[in-house]
Subunit: 294 residues, 4 copies
């Protein structure tokens, strides 16, 4: 297929490379042009503006936040203004439910299609083509986009006809990870104050009940009490919890654990933790327990 790809960050670079490997014609666009260089050597075309990335059957976006997606998609000379009728905008960014809904309407009004296709997985999975994709959008559009999505994923989960539902599912996934971090953080504060070794404890947990990689990854970060460099920066984690709470507020769903997570992020930021990995919220229970920083 002939597809544009906008947003060549750590995730987008791997996804676009896999689209090329799968034989698609890929035209890349990034605000900071330097980042597209390696993809060009792999066969990508370069767009000088958003419009040039919107000339194919579809355009894929992988951007940092609502603001970036809004400006790229809805601004003058943006995707809605540039895409052909019937073409598809596939958005893999983690964005708000409200924006997802708004984009669906804007594309529909322009005779275009919109799929929210957020992904689970880290940059290494994007590079390896082993992401998981959740899709929200009309079945016909998802089927049309399937060859693209398969290029970088090991499995596709069509979760709803509504794009915003997929965005919500993605947000809920990050809420679940942050919850696991919080629970590990409280458990570690408790056993550490009783004199149990933190690493031995995490080994025990992850050899038994909690073998999932989420517990291994974050359990070890928390046992090490080392949150730099950030794999996933705390402000991004906060953003997702914020968006989950915003969606919950609209839907009238009280989420006390999500509120606790939100307060953890604010405490972290109030003490200068913006540059840390988001798992640093799990250290706060230890500090509250009066165990001094290493």
């Amino acid at each position: 297929m002939n597809v544009g790809f906008i947003g060549i960050g750590r995730m987008g670079a791997g996804m676009a490379a896999n689209l090329l490997k799968a034989g698609h014609r890929v035209t890349v666009y990034n605000r900071t042009p330097g980042k597209t260089r390696s993809l060009i050597t792999q066969g990508a075309y370069v767009a000088r503006n958003i419009g040039e990335a919107c000339q194919g059957d579809a355009v894929h976006t992988m951007l940092a936040d609502d603001e970036a997606v809004e400006s790229i998609a809805l601004g003058s000379g943006g995707i809605v203004a540039s895409l052909a009728a019937g073409a598809i905008h596939i958005s893999s960014s983690t964005i708000s439910v409200a924006l997802s809904h708004h984009l669906a309407n804007a594309h529909a009004d322009a005779g275009q299609q919109f799929i929210a296709a957020p992904v689970f997985g880290r940059p290494d999975a994007a590079a390896a083509g082993t992401l998981f994709v959740v899709t929200g959008g009309r079945t016909m559009a998802v089927e049309k986009a399937r060859p693209l999505l398969e290029a970088f994923s090991q499995q596709i989960f069509p979760i709803s006809d509504l794009p915003e539902a997929a965005s919500l599912v993605k947000l809920s996934g990050n809420f679940l990870i942050a919850s696991a971090i919080e629970s590990l953080g409280e458990a570690l504060a408790l056993i550490a104050k009783a004199g149990v070794d933190r690493h031995q404890y995490i080994d025990l947990l992850t050899s038994t009940l909690f073998s999932a990689s989420v517990y291994k990854t974050y359990g070890n970060l928390l046992a090490d009490r080392k949150f730099e460099p950030a794999g996933f920066a705390a402000p991004l984690g906060h953003k997702d919890i914020h968006l989950a709470l915003a969606a919950a507020e609209q839907l009238r769903v009280p989420l006390p654990l999500a509120s606790l997570l939100r307060d953890r992020f604010l405490t972290l930021f109030a003490h200068g933790g913006e540059r840390l990995d988001w798992s640093a919220i799990g250290e706060l229970a230890t500090l509250d327990a009066g165990i001094t920083a290493t």
Copy 2:
């Protein structure tokens, strides 16, 4: 070895049977004698009172709660009064940190040894001999008890010289499971109110980020919204969270998520949920969101 086994419930029956299979001489005791019948056919001797179960190198207890352990261990004619000097009491019950500490002292005063050896795993793992054992106690005592512990477990984690530390670790494990239930409950409330199918959502989660059996087991129970019959009854779950909070209060460790879980159990019980599986606390977020019961 020559070992007594007190407490032939669903867990204890499997553990004692594995001790027999491993060739140990096992003398069983249970308040309700009928439950020992099947073990007798497997070669077990029967004690008519606690004292008769305390004539060997060690006595193992697997009882419901603090009250049961206290009466069996510390009552007149109980374990402390009956065990030979140097013999070991191995306690696999999930009990309070305070009682664990108290038993260690009582046995030491009587020249006996005490190991807290709580286990992770359900009755099927007890029967299969694939439990995980966490031990708290002096290395020498743990080493002496090792042939017994190995009979029913796949791995032994010596976590501390102090029995109470092992009790705390066990409590913290149940806190972590309950936390996972709460987080799944909130996530399900959120996505269900947005129209996403609960089972599809759990399939997605457990195929991707959350492959641990805890998430599979409880995710499916929560998606089914079916909490009877109870695999692990809610009052037992409440007891463990209560004991974790009690230990945390002594240690001066604030645990906001554990407090939330405690309130969930109280709400459940205030509405007649004592007979349900403990995962029913994860349904409360759905009810708070105004989604009616099935």
Copy 3:
């Protein structure tokens, strides 16, 4: 002084009437014109549009929410577009910190002045001229506006040079009231389940430690378990807690009690409570305790 008054609701009607009584020349404007009738008989002039209400030394606004203030102040033909250089916009609406800040900038850019002057008190105090006014704005502007503010208040508290600080103080006041409601709600759930009479209990509290009118008013509503008709509707209370949390998020201030209140409102709304008085959030502890509705 020559002053416009926009927003003739239950509060605004009393405030404007007091401006007339104090001898000011008052030109009123309301979207629904019928509401201005009674003020006309008291001597008010009527503006046919926003611009006509902006011809004097100052214009006072008393509107429902951010949306209303934004459209009246910033829309085409709105206050910023109409007010003379040097004239003052006095805003008594309870609005977000962000909008308060934005208005201050917009008026400054237009060479006008802006004061946030939120009030504490109910419609009867507005009618009696016994409100309390908190002001945020430059001292010179506040002093110039003082004769107007004095017309309907018993005391003026200049809290900051920054309008948004006064808006925040107003929001924090409603947070404190909602907190008192929550604490009363929990206490009532507890003592009622133990068999103590709810009215006797409130009598005791308000005769002793908690004589403030907030505790009397809401304590009696909670003891009566009667939340209709609404004195202050729950969605308005929710809006203020939402705005307090939004300001706290910007300022990096974790507020766990405010988060609890937010969840209470969401639970209330998820069960159809939008039409109730905001004190109905205090009934939720009683329902969680399994005490059935009257």
Copy 4:
């Protein structure tokens, strides 16, 4: 009447003095005998042991906690063992609901009467005879004790026939005060981080909506950020919240705000705050917001 008085601390001293002023025959007992000296000069008799304080129509106790009351009332040579049939034990200590219930039974079994008569008010009110008394107990017993209670109180509230109900009401009162402290603490963190002066803010609040003395007393302590010397020490506050939660757990009443308060106390103690006034929990929101200690 002929009455014993056990527990001559800061509260008891004032209460006993007022009993003397009202013309009663008072026999005082205190573990540390020195404290009774001033009462002797006012006409009190001194008991050399608990039994000697139990020879009259009634004995009044005003002690620190459950442990003290249990040992004085239920120990060998204690009140239950010493009081005449038909005589009354009036307990003004703040104790657990469970102990209150237990004492009622113990006294009934001994043919004696028991009233829980906790008081609201500080030492100065005890000295001035202006306490508020809440009574739990049989009407006949309360009426008989009334001349004693009137000696040191301005009003008596018979709240229930059950002593434990009065104990619960007392605990709930301290919960409400701690809740007010928490809410003030969060509000102050919020407005202070926005640059508003803390004292000006408390002046505003207590001149308007929150004129109750609780808000004045604690609002000023919080604005001063000065928590020494302690008027009511934090461990006592923690004890009462702990007892309220224990009662709530028995009654199946979830109290999320009380859980938050409990965690605040634990955080305070984990950082060495045992010697501070209990209002120091209200400073924690400020510290969480990253505002450094003065």
